[in-house]
Assembly symmetry: C2
Homo-oligomer: 365 residues x 2
């Protein structure tokens, strides 16, 4: 070994050692029995706990002599669970876990617990579609915005196929990437399509906040400016760039929370554009808006192929959703009320998408 | 107002209040004079500081009566700077800033400081290309892997155009999304192309770690298994799915750090596949490998259109890069040695990409 080679070897060792020392904390560690170990290196902290969706409250962690805090919890249900650490009262995402839900307001870490057989949200060895990230100029809003689009496996192989489209809307804490990154919409559809449980479709995931809206985007101005952006800018952009059907009977609109309110308002308000409407844990439209949207039940019943309203019993919007369902019943409007367990959370919305997508675009097949 | 409407109003107020309370901490706040205020709500902490690339060391933050820590620093150079908080010795990303570099080992937050005129990395009102996220089956590695692809503005408008391709490789702490999310490769190329400073090109961003590699991926097994994946799986996949040239004179390979080492090894080792080679702050090949790669200087000089080696003087790999450049000089191999200020950091690699891309695919135009 020459002196130069020795220098390289020493340098390589130092780089490796530095990297290994920084990488020594493994968190989270998912065990085969579905228990999960969480770890945080925080020698200066006095009290550390983990808040995770599969365990109650904040679970205390114990510190070893090197200042490494840890706790093993579970076994957990197979799912993608959110968690965060509470360090002397400060809530933080796990600094060594790159899988982060970068919420508009506060980031959370995610831990994926696989099933004994692959779950519907797990990446499996099936044909995969693709995600496309676009920036488009919204003329109606006067700004440049992001847009996520999913194309199914085999898209583009036959030039003349016009795919049906699902417009998939996010919640008030999310952005246009959340249904892909956190919601796994592409993975869920890949799996459904490979099992022939859902029609191959394009999914359009627009950004739901507009300059007109408040921080939380739950006001009417946000809904109406989003409606203009979707109808006047997003749909024409998608139709210029993708091989999609422009027939209302091949268009669905569905969303969660704020996006559920938008899908009901925009869907029922534009029956010439959409025939399939879904709402997950929706911020459902209120009375004045309902009168306008549901004013003529016959028109709604003749136009809508599916009106699907899903909500969990522990959701803080549960009562509001039950009232909306009552309004549909009172007006004799055909719908599916899908009442389940669960709260206002992504674990539920992934399941709802997995249940809703197979119902779409079935009437002419 | 009916009782029901009142209930809705109260509910809406509570949701809004909860959201506003959670959103009250704004961090980072970039002022017009390019100073930046960092804030963290941590009433239980005893000492909080911010480590940011435009200020030395860890800058202490001061706490107010509500437990809100803050400091205003700068003015900063227009750039995208990394930062993290140090809370009683614990390094964390900013929990309320959704712009996070989710490094494979430890996440950092990012703050974008705009220029008086738009900088090369800023999203501008120009035609935008798109990012495409694929999953492909790597037969050579036996796993399913992610792949990011950039297509330039206007891609697909003329069916017969075969675009040149840049293969853009990440560092050992990164994944296949880092050049897009952190490196802004798409934004940089959008801006260059709109100014006609770079040829419209497709950028392929593969994942550089393989099951054969170590944690840091700097060993030979990782380089050779990555080489097989790139040549035997990635390139055929891209050519099946995109309108790209398969002529070596329209293919570039370039990367940073670990990816710089890969681009030199794979590029110089496959001169039948690549004619344009770049290395940013590279983990440059060592002596034994050099003999093989540079063994016949005439072949290299006849085959390579550009061999570009960039490194900052404060980079911990600076000496290694200078030694590599010495080897090129000793062998009379044509190259560009681009020695600059700066350390081993993304601020430099964005600049290098902005300087390197305009040099590509220029010989037959």
């Amino acid at each position: 070994m020459s002196l130069r080679e020795l220098k390289y070897a020493v340098l390589a060792f130092l780089v490796l050692a530095a990297a290994v020392c920084r990488a020594e904390v493994v968190s989270p560690e998912v065990h085969k029995d579905r228990r999960v170990t969480f770890r945080l290196h925080a020698p200066g902290a006095e009290r550390v706990g983990v808040k995770v969706q599969f365990a109650p409250d904040v679970q205390p962690m114990a510190k070893d002599g090197d200042g490494l805090w840890s706790v093993t919890l579970g076994p957990a249900e197979p799912d993608i669970h959110e968690y965060s650490f509470i360090v002397d009262g400060l809530e933080i995402p796990d600094p060594v876990n790159p899988v982060v839900k970068v919420w508009r307001r506060r980031s959370k870490s995610l831990v994926e617990v696989p099933g004994d057989r692959p779950m519907f949200f797990e990446v499996q060895d099936v044909p995969h579609g693709a995600i496309h990230i676009h920036k488009y100029r919204s003329r109606s809003l006067g700004v440049t915005r992001g847009l996520y689009i999913y194309t199914p496996p085999g898209y583009g192989a036959e030039a003349k196929v016009k795919y049906p489209v699902m417009f998939l809307l996010h919640g008030s804490g999310d952005t246009e990437d959340t249904w892909a990154v956190v919601g796994r919409a592409n993975v869920i559809l890949d799996n459904l399509i490979s099992q022939q449980k859902a029609a191959p479709m394009v999914i359009v995931m627009p950004y739901g906040h507009t300059p007109a809206g408040s921080v939380v985007g739950l006001d009417r101005r946000n809904t109406s400016s989003f409606e203009r952006d979707l109808i006047d800018d997003v749909i024409p952009y998608v139709e210029r760039n993708y091989s999609v059907s422009s027939d209302r009977r091949h268009r669905a609109i569905v969303g969660l929370s704020m996006g559920g309110g938008q899908s009901l308002s925009v869907g029922l308000g534009n029956l010439d554009s959409f025939a399939w409407i879904g709402a997950f844990s929706a911020a459902a439209p209120r009375e004045a808006a309902l009168k306008k949207l549901l004013g003529d039940p016959n028109v709604v019943n003749e136009s809508v192929e599916l009106l699907w309203v899903g909500c969990g019993r522990k959701d803080f919007l549960f009562d509001a959703n039950m009232r909306f369902i009552d309004e549909l019943r009172a007006r004799k409007i055909k719908h599916v009320a899908h009442i389940t367990g669960g709260a206002h959370e992504w674990r539920l919305w992934r399941r709802y998408l997995n249940e809703f997508a197979p119902l779409l675009f079935t009437t002419d097949e």
